[in-house]
Amino acid sequence: MSAPATTADAGHHEPSKFHFYIQIAMILSVITGVEVVLVYLPIAKWFVVTALCTLSAVKFMFVIFFFMHLRWDKVFCTILFFIGLVLAGGTMWALLHIFGADASKPLSAAMLETAHLAIA
């Protein structure tokens, strides 16, 4: 597995991904542009939210798999990162739901005021 490269010619470098990276960056810019335009379009809200989330996720994946080389690295790196990502996402999801529940609604200012007035 550690067999040294038999093709030990001086020119054996990582193949350049220069143009590839430029293409990725262009795709990312275009997606960002689409996102900004999207929020101003008169389309159904649920559709825009879904589209925005999807587009962001696509951008996210492009960066981690290409710019961050996950695509070419050992799959363990991907697993490692996704452990954190999934736990963070899950925690966020749970927190938003807990705070979204009826039982968790904060006291409105009006209710607070009556609470204080009643003492007097």
Binding site: G90, I98, A101, S104
Partner: protein, 668 residues
Amino acid sequence: MAEAIAKHAYTGGAHAPVKKATFELFARPTAKTGLVGWLTTVDHKKIGMLYGGFAIFFFLVGGLEALLIRTQLIVPNNHFLEAQTYNELFTMHGTTMIFLAVMPLNAAFFNLLIPLQVGARDVAFPRLNSFSLWVWVVGAILLNVGWLSHFVPAWKFGGAPSVGWFGYAPLTSKAFTPQLSTDLWVFGLQVLGLSSIVASLNFIVTIINMRAPGLTMMRLPVFTWMALVTSFLLILALPAIAIALVEVMFDRNFGTNFFEVSGGGQPILWQHLFWVFGHPEVYILILPPMGYVSEILPTFSRKPLFGYPIIVFSGVAIGFIGFGVWSHHMFTTGLGNVATAAFALATMAIAVPTGVKIFNWIGTLWGGQIMTRVPMMFALGFIWMFMLGGFSGIMHSAAPADAQQQDSYFVIAHFHYVLIGGATFALLAAIHYWFPKFFGRMVPEFWGKLSFWLIFIGFNCTFFPMHFLGLNGMPRRTWTYDSNMGWNEGNLVASCGAYLLGLGIFTYFAVLIWSFFKGKVAGNDPWDGRTMEWSIPSPPPEHNFAAIPTVHARDAWWYEKHHQEEIAQERAEHIQAEESHGGIHMPDQSWYPIIAAFGLLIGTYNMAQLHHPVEMFNKVIFATHLPLAITGLCILVTACYLWSLEGPGGYHLHIAPDGKVTESRGDH
């Protein structure tokens, strides 16, 4: 093959820079002993011992705090302590025992054992390891410096922190605890978190990447597996409390509204963020002890661990589910029925992998030849006590019943059964078990057993009655109670038990100190062990292994003991191969980790009192502590910069056939 192994031994690998001198502000320290040797060490064994020493010190401090607490409660309406002092004591007892005793003791064992169990010469990033140790010391200082203001009036910290170990907002806001001690608590925990994250990253890389040839993940000793899971829990859980602490710090110093009720803040968010960290923290405390016990039981049963894969997977499962049960600490905060039910069921689910571990430990005993040496007694005590603690845990998962137990002495009983009966018993077992390995001397059996029984009886006398105190309605964190509540006898027994427990702990450590000087000299393998650390001399040499071992089976050393010729030949080849590659590569010591930690101390200590003027000789020198805080930050950054420039460095060891070790420096 030999080439691969030789390369393996060389931690820097092909990427390590060629050693070039003359690029250093300080001469690179080379002293192996003495103060400089210890302060600049990068040797995982020395760092482990420093962790252990500091941790045992704070363990005894935390124990003393507990004894003061129990003394105050020995009779109703006692005035031995003032309310505020008592509150400081229980806050610091909890904080100390968790962050400054059990966690660093586990870190000590991680440091001491992981490289030995995976067959490596050191951890993956030795200087980073030294950094996390000294950063931990900084955190310990910040947390405890408040005690000084009880003795030196000029230090106006307002006593030690008094917000409870989980510092529920808004009690931590400036309106309710204006004292500096709360700021120091915030920064102290933050710094300890940094230390733990850095250390854990190091252990993760070490365990995953530095395994000896042949040591597949499913051959890893269980302790190392649990260390891996724990390290993952630490890096994933600590960020939550880091954010929560940042928010409290901002609330206190910069007027933000995260937990400020008048500004629309929701203090319950602190509880969520705290327990998102706090519940995995419980497993951070208990998983390594499960690892010790899983090493000790097979050794003294002379049998492999029963159901190794299931023990490993249940450890991983506990780690994962542990992130989904945090709100069971908050059943009484009005989460809503659905959330309460969901967290109650998840909590019950986590009992399954925990139970599985107990079944497997019993399976390990079954059919073995049980030798009841002291470590084994503590390990068996662990199983019994941890089982009881687990049962009261299941009782808490029934949320409506928990509404009566939450914040009562029943909870105190529960978590002390888990953390003393569980974690501490296992740690005491581990200290006793590995003492001969790291100090080369045996602890006498009689005194060990005596201390076991004192601790066992004292512990149960202290905490068993607390179940009943809780059921009888005694709330926790109360500095006094009335005589008509039916709590007098329970508290009296508990306090007496606490003194007995204290006596037992004292005996235990006194015997250790005696053994360090006078104990019988131990051989390499006094217990007939099964894992790789028992294959090397006691205490282990600086380079751990003369030759990096090749692992052929799960209990690597047990296998080697039963295949001696084959192994001897393999070893000789490895030594030769490594010597032909320039000898054993060892990393250089460095000043920068401790200097960086010093910068952090100056920075955080002054950040904590940011808005207070700096006085010296009764004169105000600076209007705020900002200049000093920035100075600390600059020291930290500069040290990190120089650290990155100096490079890992290194030197080589050469082992002569007669075992004599010589050192060489310079290019290879």
